[in-house]
């Protein structure tokens, strides 16, 4: 087999190409053709399942179309209108969902970054069993979301859940707390959005391991000499953390924050499985689902989706600019 032969030095192909210009253009043309050959299935999939649907969602958003119209799609002319957007802008449901989603995504992003950071710093130095601990911390991330939600729902169940049982046995709770259905409860006089916080906590539990992985990867590439030099110059542990480690992590932390916000902004599964939107946890994705399935209104669902993607588009541009700057520095 050819692969078994010793590889020639790196310069060999380049030298041959320069020496024989004709062969070089032939080679380049062949490479160009192979490149397109190999990448075309991927592009075909992308075009069919991303670009075409996106074009359609724009069309739907600007037209009156309902689920019952599907069989006649493509046979009748489209009635263009702005009504879907007008109705969305006028509806309490839309603005409520937008605010809930921003709160949910923001809290989740900050929370999972904070937890991931603490874990990454705590597990930075080797100790016996570190590999095992690191692997075990990934379990919530790997768990199927349905299994995780079933467990959490059981834990928080008012009748037989362990949290309520514990609270009533040892913390003096008079009545069980409906963690997944309570919109707001007063804790020492401060209104707390119970169900929303539970959903946020669940998402932090599930997504912090990913932040932990990214931060660990970044920490491992901080050269040890910088730290040693700082220590020789008399820097304390806190100063090393503040002036050396955290600045190194800043770029990747910002990216993680933005990426988690973008992902959580479109979360459906986690929220729907835990609360089905009860207790004021109607996020945008659940609104889209409700418009489509319950109200059978394709146009309105598409308009909601488009407005979501408008917001996400701005964030994505920010992400790309940020990651480009990170790569340059």
């Amino acid at each position: 087999m050819t692969a078994a032969r010793p590889a020639p030095p790196h310069t060999a192909p380049a030298r041959t190409r320069v020496a024989r210009p004709k062969a070089r253009t032939g080679l380049a043309r062949r490479e160009n053709r192979s490149g397109w050959l190999l990448v075309s299935p991927s592009l075909a999939v992308v075009a069919l399942v991303v670009l075409l649907p996106f074009a359609l969602v724009v069309v739907f958003g600007f037209s009156e179309i309902r689920l019952v119209d599907i069989p006649f799609l493509g046979t009748e002319p489209i009635e263009w209108s702005l009504d879907n957007f007008r109705r969305a802008a006028a509806s309490q449901a839309f603005w409520g969902a937008l605010w809930t989603t921003v709160l949910y995504a923001g809290l989740t992003a900050v929370g999972s970054l904070a937890v991931g950071l603490v874990l990454a710093l705590a597990l930075r130095r080797p100790f016996p069993g570190r590999g095992l601990v690191r692997a075990l911390l990934l379990v919530p991330y790997v768990l199927p979301v349905v299994a995780a939600a079933t467990i959490w729902k059981t834990m928080l169940n008012p009748q037989y859940g362990v949290v309520n049982a514990f609270g009533r046995a040892y913390l003096g709770w008079d009545t069980p707390v409906g963690f997944l259905s309570t919109t707001s409860a007063d804790v020492w006089g401060i209104p707390v959005p119970v169900a929303l916080l539970v959903v946020v906590l669940f998402d932090i539990w599930k997504s912090a391991p990913l932040a932990f992985l990214f931060l660990t990867a970044r920490l491992q590439s901080v050269p040890g000499e910088i730290e040693e030099a700082a220590a020789l110059d008399g820097a304390g542990r806190r100063q090393i953390l503040r002036f050396i480690l955290l600045p190194q992590l800043r770029a990747v932390a910002l990216l993680l924050l933005l990426l988690r916000f973008i992902w959580s902004f479109q979360t459906f599964d986690d929220v729907y499985l835990l609360t089905e939107g009860a207790g004021s946890t109607q996020v945008m994705a659940i609104q889209v689902y409700t418009e489509l399935v319950t109200k059978a209104d394709i146009g309105s669902a598409a308009a909601f989706g488009l407005l979501m993607s408008l917001i996400l588009g701005v964030l994505l541009v920010g992400y790309v600019l940020l990651s480009r700057r990170t790569e340059e520095s």
């Binding site: 032969r5 730290e227 542990r237 989706g305």
Partner: protein
């Protein structure tokens, strides 16, 4: 040097963080496992108690077919397995080619196609749920596992491309250059030279794709909720939660569909993690 070594207090602090983190991560999972092995009556009577014995009947009830008084999880698992394996095969074949081209070949328009691939990886998926649902129901595929397969391939191609490109970039290019000099054709090059050394990366990506397809819930709900015989495992468990199914059986089902995924993930953990975080190391 000595200043960098942790003090006793720092080590104690670390131990506390590690213990709390393990309890936080694994506590709920352990709770689920324990409950799945207790009789339902005992759970409602004494929620804080420990299992009096090992009762695995909930697992048997969950898996058995409805005809035998069970909840049909066995069939849901088969449905999931079929869709997930199909997704892996299609998605990996498409992506091995695309990722190799993106990582190695210099063709005209390469920058543009790479940009498209990244944009798609980051694209908000929920926005496309509406048109995908409409297109597939126009084609009559929303009540079938085939429709689900199409959607899953679409959902996994971007992330698989991204991961596999990272793996290809990390491989030494010199072997391929040697093979090209020896007059190897593109097909030979891919099958006999590139794939053998790239196999860990391909397997890791395949496992990750499998996990996504195995765990997916939204599209299964959207497409198949009215077709009980076609339910995938996640949809089945979520739907049964709305019926009067004892919670111990639900948990047994959840554990049963979780264990294979977790085991397989940990076998390939190192490769999957490196494929995911590659960009973060610089």
């Amino acid at each position: 040097m000595s200043g960098v070594r942790p003090t006793r207090a720092a080590r104690a602090g670390r131990a506390v963080v590690v213990v709390v983190a393990l309890l936080w991560s694994l506590g709920p999972v352990a709770y689920g496992v324990v409950l799945s092995m207790r009789p339902y009556g005992e759970v409602t009577r004494d929620p804080l108690g420990l299992p009096s014995g090992l009762d695995l009947s909930a697992f048997a009830t969950a898996v058995r077919d409805e005809a035998d008084g069970g909840f049909g999880l066995g069939r849901f698992v088969l449905n999931s397995l079929g869709v997930a394996v199909g997704t892996v095969v299609l998605s990996i074949v498409v992506c091995v080619l695309g990722a190799y081209a993106a990582a190695r070949l210099r063709y005209r328009g390469r920058a543009v196609t790479n940009g498209i691939i990244l944009a798609v990886y980051l694209f908000p998926g929920i926005v496309l749920a509406v048109p995908k649902f409409v297109i597939l129901s126009r084609l009559g595929l929303t009540s079938s596992l085939v429709g689900l397969l199409v959607v899953y391939v679409a959902a996994t191609v971007p992330v698989a491309l991204y991961m596999m490109r990272n793996f290809f970039l990390a491989l030494p290019a010199s072997v391929e250059e040697a093979a090209i000099m020896d007059g190897c054709s593109l097909g030979q090059l891919l099958i006999r030279v590139v794939l053998p050394i790239a196999i860990p990366g391909v397997v890791a990506t395949a496992i990750y794709v499998f996990m996504i397809a195995w765990n997916e819930y939204f599209y299964a709900l959207l497409f198949l909720v009215q077709h009980r015989d076609l339910w995938t495992a996640p949809l089945g468990i979520a739907q049964l939660g709305d019926f009067q199914v004892p919670v111990t059986v639900l948990l047994a089902g959840s554990i049963a569909v979780t264990v294979p995924v977790v085991v397989v993930f940990f076998l390939a953990q190192r490769y999957i993690v490196s494929g995911l975080v590659q960009g973060a190391e610089r």
